[in-house]
C-alpha cells in the first residue's frame, strides 16, 4: 500500500496535535489586572500580614476577584484596571517601606493547565504597554574612576611606607609619581611590584619619576565590572519601583536593556534609573584657610567644595565612607521636622566610621552629595553634550559622639528628595554613569489596539487563504488548510513553551509564516495534478507528488531558514522576535505540510482499493 501510514505515524500526528493544543491553550485565556505585594527585605510575608492586607482591601470596599497568598507573596486579582490602580494606591499609602507593591497582569490559566507547565506567551511591551530603555554605560568614566582610585591608593601607600614624594597626579594617560629624591626609586618600584601588580610601570628619563598605567586586562575587567555592577544596581532600583516581571539584560559590550511592563509614570522611572546620586562622608579641614584655597592654593591633603548656598569649604581628601558601604536607608524626618535619611553601614564602613568619630569628637564632618548632570554647551559653535560631576556639600555637622552602624543625615531640600535619595542608597550606587540612549513607551490603549491589529491581520489573511485553497484544490485544499491550522497551533505551542516574547512584529511573523508555509502544500498539490495529467494512476500520483515535492520543499525552506537565522543573530529587539517566529514557523511547517496533510490524504484515499478519481 503506497498511501498508507503505519500506525505510529498516525499516532505521532495525534500526539503532536494533543500536546500542541495543551500548550497553545493558555494563550486563549486573558489576564487579570492584579496587585502583587512582597517584602522588600529578603524575608517572606507571613500569613498574618497577608490577612491584614486582605482585610484592608475588603474594608476599602473594592471588589476583589480573587486573593492569593503563595510563596510569601500576595496576589490580589481585580475585575478592572481601575480597581487595580485604586488598590495599589491604597496599599502603598497604608503599608510601610518594607512592602513592595507592584502592578501586574496575572494570567487566568486554569490550574490543571498550569500544573502541566502550560503558560501563555509573554506579551511584549508594544502589546501590553510599558517602557523600554536602552542604557549606555559610560565606560570612560568607569576607567577614569579606577585611575582616580589607584592615584589615591598609591599616594596612601607612599605615605604609609614613608617614601617622600612631590606629587602623584594623572597626566596624559599616566599616573605620574614624582619623588622628592631619585634615591627612593628602588623602594617605590618594590612597593609597586608588591601591592600594585595591575599597574604597568614605565620609567621615563627623569630619574625621580615613575609613570603608571592601568594594564589592558585591568581596563577590560573594570569595564566588565562596571556593566555587571550597574545591572545589579538597576535591578535593585527596578524592584524598589515596584514593577512586576521587569527585564534587565546586557546587550553588547556596554548597553543594558531595561523593560518595565505596565509602567506609565516614565518620569519617575527615568529619574530613579538614570540617577547616579550617592553620598560621601568627609572630615572638614579646619587647619587651612578657605579663602586661600578659593584663590587657587588648595592644600595638598584637602579639596575645595561648595555648600548649597555657595559658600566654599575645605574637606579632607580622604573619604570616610562612600555610598557603596551603605546597606540600608530609609527616609523620615528628624526632631526638628526636617527631611532626613537614616543610614545603615556595612561592617567595613561602620568600623571606619566608628574609629574616625572616636578620634574626632567635636570636629565637623561634611556630607557630600554627588550627582552626574548632563549639560549642553556650545563649543566652537557646535552644541555638545557632556556629563558633569556635581558635588555639593549638603550638610556639615559637628561630631557629637561616637557612632558607627546607624545614623541620620539631614540637609535635603524636600521629603521627596529624601525619599528618592534613600531609595537610591538602598539600591546601591551606579559605579559608572549611564545614559538613556533609547526609550520606547507604549500606552496601554495602544497596546490593546496593537493586539487587535495583529490578530486581525492573521485572522482575515487566514480566512482568505483558506477560502481560495479550498476553492482551488477542493478536498486537497481542505487538507492543506487543516495542515496549515495545525502549523499555527504548533507554532504557538512552541513559542509558549519557550516563553518567547510576542510582539507586533512577531505577529507579523506568524502571518508571513502562514503565507509561506502554504507554499509547501501548493507545491505538493500542483505536483499531484501534474502527475495525474501525464496519466499516472491517482494512487501513484499522490505518492509521487509528495515524494518529488519534498526535495524542493526542503531546499526552499532551508534558504528561508538561513535568512531567519541571520536576522535572529544580528537583529535587535523586535526584529529578533520576528526572526524567531519565522525560524520556528519554517520548522513546524515542514512537519505539518508534509506529514500532517499526508496523513489526512492517506486516511481519505489510502483505504480505497479502486481509486479512480481525486478531488483535486
Amino acid at each position: 500500500m503506497q498511501n498508507h501510514y503505519p500506525l505510529w505515524k498516525n499516532l505521532l500526528v495525534l500526539i503532536v496535535f494533543a500536546v500542541s493544543t495543551i500548550y497553545a491553550l493558555p494563550n486563549l485565556y486573558g489576564d487579570d489586572p492584579s496587585v502583587q505585594v512582597a517584602s522588600t527585605r529578603s524575608t517572606k510575608l507571613a500569613q498574618e500580614q497577608a490577612n491584614k492586607i486582605e482585610s484592608d482591601l475588603k474594608a476599602s470596599g473594592l471588589n476583589i476577584k480573587q486573593f492569593e497568598f503563595n510563596n510569601g507573596q500576595v496576589l490580589a486579582r481585580f475585575n478592572s484596571t481601575d480597581d487595580q490602580l485604586k488598590a495599589a494606591d491604597l496599599l502603598r499609602d497604608q503599608l510601610s517601606d518594607e512592602y513592595n507593591v507592584a502592578l501586574n497582569l496575572a494570567p487566568t490559566t486554569p490550574p490543571w493547565l498550569r500544573a502541566l507547565g502550560a503558560k501563555a506567551m509573554y506579551l511584549g511591551l508594544d502589546l501590553r504597554g510599558g517602557v523600554h530603555f536602552l542604557m549606555e554605560v559610560d565606560m570612560d568614566a568607569a576607567v577614569k574612576q579606577a585611575e582616580d582610585r589607584y592615584t589615591d591608593d598609591v599616594r596612601l601607600a607612599l605615605r604609609n611606607e614613608k617614601i617622600r614624594y612631590q606629587s602623584v597626579a594623572k597626566d596624559s594617560g599616566f599616573i605620574k609619581v614624582k619623588l622628592s629624591s631619585a634615591d627612593d626609586k628602588p623602594a617605590l618600584l618594590k612597593l609597586l611590584g608588591k601591592d600594585f601588580r595591575a599597574l604597568e610601570v614605565t620609567e621615563p628619563s627623569e630619574q625621580d619619576q615613575v609613570w603608571l598605567k592601568l594594564s589592558e586586562k585591568d581596563v577590560r575587567e573594570t569595564k566588565k565590572f562596571a556593566v555587571a555592577q550597574n545591572m545589579t544596581t538597576l535591578r535593585n532600583r527596578v524592584n524598589e519601583l515596584g514593577v512586576a516581571e521587569p527585564v534587565i539584560q546586557q546587550q553588547g559590550e556596554k548597553h543594558i536593556v531595561v523593560q518595565l511592563p505596565g509602567v506609565q509614570d516614565t518620569t519617575r522611572a527615568k529619574e530613579i534609573l538614570g540617577t547616579t546620586a550617592t553620598l560621601e562622608y568627609r572630615l572638614v579641614d579646619v587647619e587651612h584657610d578657605v579663602q586661600q584655597a578659593v584663590e587657587g592654593h588648595v592644600p595638598v591633603g584637602s579639596r575645595l567644595y561648595y555648600e548649597r548656598n555657595g559658600n566654599p569649604i575645605l574637606l579632607d581628601r580622604r573619604v570616610i565612607v562612600t555610598g557603596d558601604q551603605i546597606v540600608d536607608s530609609s527616609s523620615g524626618v528628624d526632631q526638628d521636622g526636617r527631611p532626613s535619611v537614616n543610614i545603615s553601614l556595612n561592617g567595613v564602613g561602620a568600623a571606619k566610621m566608628g574609629k574616625l568619630t572616636q578620634a574626632n569628637i567635636g570636629k565637623p564632618m561634611a556630607v557630600v552629595f554627588i550627582e552626574y548632570k548632563v549639560e549642553t554647551k556650545t563649543v566652537n559653535g557646535q552644541k555638545v553634550r557632556h556629563k558633569e560631576k556635581v558635588e555639593k556639600v549638603i550638610n556639615v555637622a559637628t561630631i557629637q559622639g561616637v557612632f558607627s552602624h546607624r545614623f541620620q543625615t539631614t540637609g535635603l531640600d524636600s521629603p521627596q528628595e529624601a525619599r528618592n535619595l534613600s531609595l537610591l542608597l538602598r539600591a546601591g550606587a551606579l559605579v559608572a554613569p549611564i545614559d538613556i540612549v533609547e526609550e520606547r513607551t507604549v500606552g496601554p490603549s495602544l497596546g490593546q489596539e496593537n493586539i487587535g491589529k495583529g490578530v486581525n491581520s492573521n485572522v482575515y489573511g487566514f480566512i482568505a487563504v483558506a477560502f481560495f485553497m479550498i476553492a482551488y484544490y477542493r478536498l486537497f485544499g481542505l487538507f492543506s488548510i487543516v495542515a496549515l491550522s495545525m502549523n499555527v497551533l504548533m507554532l504557538v505551542a512552541v513559542l509558549s513553551l519557550l516563553q518567547a516574547t510576542l510582539t507586533l512584529p512577531g505577529m507579523a511573523g506568524i502571518a508571513l509564516t502562514v503565507g509561506m508555509a502554504i507554499d509547501a502544500n501548493v507545491l505538493i498539490n500542483e505536483r499531484i495534478r501534474e502527475e495525474l495529467r501525464i496519466g499516472m494512476s491517482p494512487g501513484a500520483a499522490i505518492y509521487a507528488g509528495y515524494e518529488r515535492a519534498f526535495a524542493t520543499i526542503l531546499d526552499s525552506n532551508i534558504t528561508t531558514l538561513i535568512a531567519g537565522i541571520a536576522l535572529f543573530t544580528l537583529g535587535s529587539g523586535p526584529i529578533r522576535g520576528f526572526a524567531l517566529v519565522l525560524c520556528i514557523g519554517i520548522l513546524t511547517s515542514m512537519f505539518s505540510a508534509v506529514v500532517v496533510s499526508r496523513a489526512l490524504v492517506n486516511l481519505a484515499y489510502g483505504g480505497q482499493r479502486q481509486l479512480d478519481k481525486l478531488a483535486i
Binding site: 557646535q382 489596539e449 482575515y460 487566514f462 482568505a464 507586533l504 507579523a508 502571518a511 508571513l512 526584529i575
Partner: protein
C-alpha cells in the same frame, strides 16, 4: 478549479534578452533613485524623538504646533497619525534635543493646553544606536547572501547559486529604489521585511532550478533552453498561486495591521511581485548564459534517483 492549463512550453528563454533588458533598466532606475533621492530613514536609524498623543476629539494640529514653537524646539514636525484624533510629533536628533526628558516637557505642556490628551507612545533613539543598526543590518544582509550562496552551491552548482543571488539582489535593490523614489519611511521593520524577502524570493529560483535539474535527467536530446522553458512553464502555476497566497497574508497586514506594519507589508509586496519576475526571467537566463550543462549537475544529484524510476 485550474487556472493554468498550458499545453505548450512558453519560450521564455527566447525573450531572455528583452526581459533582462527590462530588469536592467528598472535596476538602473532604482540605483538612480537611491543615489539621488536616498532612503528616507526612520527614527530607528537617524535617532530623534517621536511622540504620539491621542485626544478625545479631533486633534488641533495647529495648537500642538504652537506649543512646540513656544518651547523653541527646532525642526519639529506635527501631523495626524492613523486617525484625526491622533497626532504624531517628530523632533530630529540635535544636540539640544538629545535628551530623554524632552518628551515629558512636551507632554506636560500639551496637558496644560488640553487635559484630555493621552500619551500613546514615545520613541527616543540616540544617534549612536542608529549607526550600530546600519552596521548590523549590512552584516545581516551579507551573511544571508553568503549563507544562501553556499547552500545553493552545495545543493546545485555554483552557476545556480550565482544566478539566484543576482536575481535576489535585483529584487532587493528595486525594493530599496522604490522606497527611495516615493520617499516612504525606511524603518527597522522594513529592513526586516527586506531581509525576509531575501530568503523568501530565492525559493522561486530554487523551485525552478530544482525542476531544471530534474529535466536534465528525464529529457534527453532536448536543448538546454527548451529544458529551462519547460521547467518554468510547469512550475508556473505553483509560482503564481503560492505568491498569491503569501500576498493575501501580506495584504491583510497592510490593511489591518495599522501604521506599524504598513511599510513592512509594502516592502514585502514589492518583493513578492518582483520575486516572481526575477526568479523566472532573470535567474534562468543568467544560468543559461553562465553555460550550465548536463554534466555539471550529474555528480551532485543522486538522492532522487529512485524516485525517477517510479511507475
Amino acid at each position: 478549479m485550474e487556472l493554468f492549463k498550458i499545453k505548450h512550453d512558453i519560450p521564455f528563454m527566447r525573450y531572455g534578452r528583452v526581459t533582462t533588458t527590462i530588469s536592467l533598466v528598472t535596476f538602473i532606475l532604482a540605483i538612480l533613485a537611491l543615489s539621488f533621492k536616498g532612503l528616507n530613514f526612520g527614527l530607528d536609524f537617524t535617532g530623534g524623538l517621536q511622540v504620539e498623543v491621542g485626544y478625545n476629539q479631533p486633534a488641533n494640529v495647529e495648537a500642538v504646533r504652537k506649543v512646540l514653537e513656544e518651547q523653541k524646539i527646532p525642526d519639529f514636525s506635527v501631523q495626524n497619525f492613523g486617525s484625526v484624533k491622533e497626532v504624531l510629533i517628530r523632533v530630529p536628533m540635535k544636540a539640544e534635543t538629545n535628551d530623554v526628558k524632552l518628551s515629558e516637557v512636551i507632554l506636560a505642556k500639551l496637558r496644560e493646553q488640553d487635559p484630555s490628551v493621552v500619551l500613546r507612545s514615545v520613541e527616543f533613539v540616540g544617534p549612536q544606536v542608529g549607526k550600530e543598526l546600519f552596521e548590523s543590518g549590512g552584516l545581516a544582509m551579507l551573511l544571508v547572501v553568503a549563507g544562501i550562496m553556499a547552500y545553493l552551491a552545495a545543493r546545485f552548482e555554483w552557476r545556480f547559486a550565482l544566478a539566484a543571488i543576482i536575481a535576489n539582489m535585483h529584487d532587493i535593490v528595486i525594493i530599496l529604489g522604490m522606497f527611495a523614489f516615493f520617499q516612504w519611511e525606511f524603518t527597522l521593520s522594513v529592513l526586516a521585511g527586506v531581509l525576509a524577502i531575501l530568503g523568501y524570493s530565492v525559493n522561486e529560483s530554487v523551485v525552478v532550478f530544482d525542476r531544471v535539474r530534474e529535466n536534465f535527467h528525464k529529457m534527453r536530446n532536448v536543448s538546454v533552453p527548451d529544458m529551462i522553458d519547460n521547467a518554468i512553464t510547469t512550475t508556473m502555476s505553483r509560482t503564481v498561486i503560492t505568491h498569491f497566497m503569501t500576498q493575501m497574508m501580506v495584504l491583510a497586514m497592510f490593511f489591518f495591521g495599522g501604521e506599524a506594519l504598513h511599510n513592512f507589508a509594502l516592502a514585502l509586496t514589492i518583493g513578492i511581485i518582483f520575486g516572481i519576475y526575477s526568479s523566472v526571467l532573470v535567474a534562468s537566463p543568467i544560468v543559461l548564459w553562465l553555460g550550465v550543462s548536463r554534466e555539471d549537475l550529474m555528480s551532485v544529484r543522486k538522492e532522487n534517483a529512485e524516485i525517477d524510476n517510479l511507475p
